[in-house]
């Protein structure tokens, strides 16, 4: 009997203790939750193509300073096919991505059509944010709606090795036609100790789009109508003539196929002195400033992109890009919008250092340029030429409205041009094939 009482007592005690413990835990948990709720940090995840150390982390840090209640995590994806596939699958599989960047229009459209982008118009309207006032013309739209804000303004121009021009006794042009460009690059092409130095260098991905799509024709340059391709426009013939002259006759430009296959980048060739000029957008300033990795002993001068003689237009490509968009699945719509707006406006000043021309009109061009060219600007760059070229107001802006089968058309143009520059087919059949295949796609 005694034993039993003892047992009962001890069990009772244990029970009481356990209950106390459990309830203690419970109340503790509740308090914790309450505490968390008080300073509940909203966390948003941002996927972008620029390495975080080249500016985006700065933007995020400054944003978090202004919005202490929001925590931003920046994840970098590489802006190539594979990287974009990774982003798309992550978006589809419901991984937490609240905000992401899109660099190219075809991906922009693809993501909107797949329902992976939120139209920002209601939020912008509520906020009283005027796009026209903030960026001017050329903000990408899809069926009349805005799905993102442009975080920078890109256009291509010619980067010149001053020393090579001086040695060849050529004056650096402040405006030129493609014919003159071909002429000058031919003069600059030479053989230096068995290594060929080309007069010009452009990357297919940039200029293939630029010349065919943009500069002369502007928007929707691949489309004659919704059901007909535009490869019979004279601009495509002119493009082929230029390629033929530079790559097949003068040898002033490395064959596109070889350049693409060797995975050459304009800045790499330019800074190692293997080419006298290259065509690129301003993001390469960060490599020019990197004297450790890319030591060079010449000053870089900017010249505008050559124009096509007789053309009325001179459009810039890709224009307002680096579009920052919202995932419709986000649980933090407001925080995401705040971040998008910040990155789309004043946040841009932290990106100039990475060679991004601000798209927001609220940033002083002079300040942006100083940031872009860095501390050794006078030593490395001809600053005046950059001021004139980068902020050239005569460059027109555009955005595309037709996207049906766009990647297919791009592939067709690339394939046919490759056949042309490898000498597999002549100019006539290149254009005829492109036209026929293009029409077939759109039919």
């Amino acid at each position: 009997m005694k034993k039993k009482t003892k047992q009962a007592l001890s069990i009772g005690m244990m029970a009481i203790l356990t209950i106390g413990l459990v309830s203690g835990c419970g109340s503790g948990k509740k308090e914790k939750v309450a505490e968390e709720k008080k300073e509940d940090k909203k966390k948003i995840v941002v996927w972008g193509p620029i390495p975080e150390e080249n500016g985006p982390q700065d933007v995020c840090d400054h944003f978090m300073e202004e919005h202490p209640d929001i925590e931003v995590e920046y994840v970098r994806y590489v802006n190539d096919d594979q990287g974009n596939v990774k982003l798309d699958t992550a978006l589809m599989s419901g991984e937490q991505i609240d905000v992401y960047f899109t660099q190219f229009e075809d991906y922009y459209v693809k993501r909107i059509e797949a329902g992976m982008a939120e139209a920002l118009d209601p939020l912008l309207e509520k906020d009283g944010f005027d796009i026209q006032e903030a960026y001017g013309d050329g903000v990408w739209q899809y069926e009349g709606k805005t799905y993102g804000l442009p975080t920078n303004y890109d256009h291509q121009f010619v980067w010149i090795n001053e020393k090579m021009f001086q040695e060849a006794g050529i004056e650096i042009p402040t405006s030129w036609t493609w014919d003159e460009y071909a002429e000058i690059t031919k003069k600059l092409t030479k053989d230096a100790d068995g290594v060929k130095i080309y007069g010009g260098f452009m990357k297919w991905q940039d200029v293939g789009r630029l010349m065919g799509r943009g500069q002369v024709l502007g928007a929707d340059s691949f489309y004659k109508s919704d059901t007909e391709s535009n490869f019979d426009d004279p601009v495509y013939q002119q493009t082929l003539e230029l390629f033929d002259r530079m790559m097949l006759q003068d040898g002033s430009h490395m064959n596109f196929v070889e350049a693409t296959n060797s995975k050459l980048e304009p800045y790499g060739e330019f800074l190692s002195g293997k080419v006298a000029t290259c065509i690129s957008a301003p993001w390469i300033t960060r490599y020019i400033n990197d004297q450790e990795k890319y030591p060079h002993d010449f000053k870089t001068v900017a010249a505008p992109l050559p124009i096509t003689e007789g053309s009325e237009h001179n459009y810039g490509w890709p224009g307002l890009t680096g579009v920052i968009m919202m995932n419709p699945a986000t649980a933090q719509k407001e925080a995401a919008y705040d971040f998008i707006k910040y990155y789309g406006t004043e946040g841009q000043k932290y990106m100039c250092r990475a060679g991004k021309i601000p798209s927001w009109t609220g940033i002083d061009p002079e300040v942006a340029l100083n940031e872009m060219l860095g501390e050794n600007a006078e030593e490395l760059f001809d600053v005046d030429s950059f001021k004139n070229v980068i902020f050239d107001e005569k460059i027109e802006r555009y955005y595309n409205t037709k996207f049906n089968k766009l990647p297919e058309l791009e592939r067709i143009w690339k394939e046919e041009v490759e056949r042309f520059v490898t000498g597999e087919q002549d100019q006539e059949s290149t254009l005829a094939n492109a036209k026929e295949r293009g029409d077939q796609e759109l039919k």
Partner: protein, 289 residues
């Protein structure tokens, strides 16, 4: 539960880990792809369109071209790999010193990472600065553009495939050569059969199960070739190295047309299935176990 049932259960449990993996990562995606191939799906809404994707492929130039390239690739790699693998194995088995060293060297490419191999290949065959062309230009005036030339690009990738798999074939053949019955060989030698006759009438028939295994795996490997095209040529120049898997890949991830892409891979699946079944049936005629 009786003993028999228990045994069956045990057996099932043993194969379960493998089958669960196969089910989740192979069977389910495969069936999904077949279903998607009958729809129009751009990662948004799905619309059932019957056989339209397949019919459109029949009139698509890119599809024909990549189909043709795939066939060429198989014809250009499989026989060469097998003959080369067998030849080297025979030579090493009979005549070479330092067998294990040769075996290791030959087998190395198979174990190396395909991406790394592609980059090395690209450097070797770079038309202007690459060592291969530097060497050729020492003797003749012009050298082919290899990966940058429509005529040579596919051949260049075939060479890579052969180089990668010849060593693999060799190692398997080497093992099989050890199994060739020596009493038969001795009898043949005594009866005065020449080396050639010994090879054709004794060695080849005894190797037939191995050849059958290698033939099937090589065929499948060559039919689903993709990485070198994606890494080195992007299907180019033009569409000269575009093969079925590559075409399926860009249709899915560049054109965002999942339906057509799935149709392409379903067609490839049917081709592989057909060939394998045919071989399986045909093996009675030439494979001796």
């Amino acid at each position: 539960m009786n003993r028999n049932k228990k045994n069956v259960l045990k057996g099932l449990l043993f194969i379960a880990p493998n089958y669960i993996g196969f089910f989740i990562f192979t069977l389910v995606p495969m069936v999904t792809a077949i279903v998607i191939s009958f729809t129009k799906w751009k990662m948004g809404d799905m619309e059932f369109i019957g056989l339209k994707n397949y019919l459109e492929l029949l009139s698509s130039r890119s599809f024909y071209k990549s189909f043709l390239n795939t066939v060429l690739f198989v014809l250009g790699t499989v026989p060469v790999t097998i003959v080369l693998g067998l030849g080297i194995a025979y030579f090493v088995d009979r005549y070479a010193y330092g067998k294990s060293l040769i075996r290791t060297i030959m087998f190395l490419p198979y174990t190396a990472n395909i991406v790394a191999i592609c980059y090395v290949w690209m450097m070797l065959f770079q038309p202007t600065y690459g060592p291969v062309n530097q060497l050729i230009l020492k003797f003749v005036k012009t050298a082919p553009g290899w990966l940058t030339s429509s005529e040579w690009a596919l051949i260049c990738i075939m060479a890579l495939q052969v180089w990668m798999y010849a060593g693999y074939c060799m190692v398997i053949y080497l093992a099989a050569l050890k199994q060739v019955p020596s009493d038969l060989m001795e009898a043949a030698a005594i009866d005065g059969a020449s080396r050639y006759k010994q090879f054709v009438h004794i060695i080849l028939p005894s190797l037939s199960p191995t050849t059958f295994f290698i033939l099937i795996t090589m065929l499948i490997n060559s039919l689903k070739i993709f990485a070198p095209m994606n890494i080195m040529t992007d299907g180019g120049p033009g569409d000269s190295t575009s093969v079925l898997v590559f075409q399926s890949y860009i249709t899915a991830f560049r054109y965002n047309d999942m339906g057509t892409a799935s149709a392409i891979s379903t067609i490839l699946f049917l081709i592989i299935l057909g060939i394998t079944l045919y071989q399986w049936k045909g093996q009675n005629k030439w494979v001796n176990y």
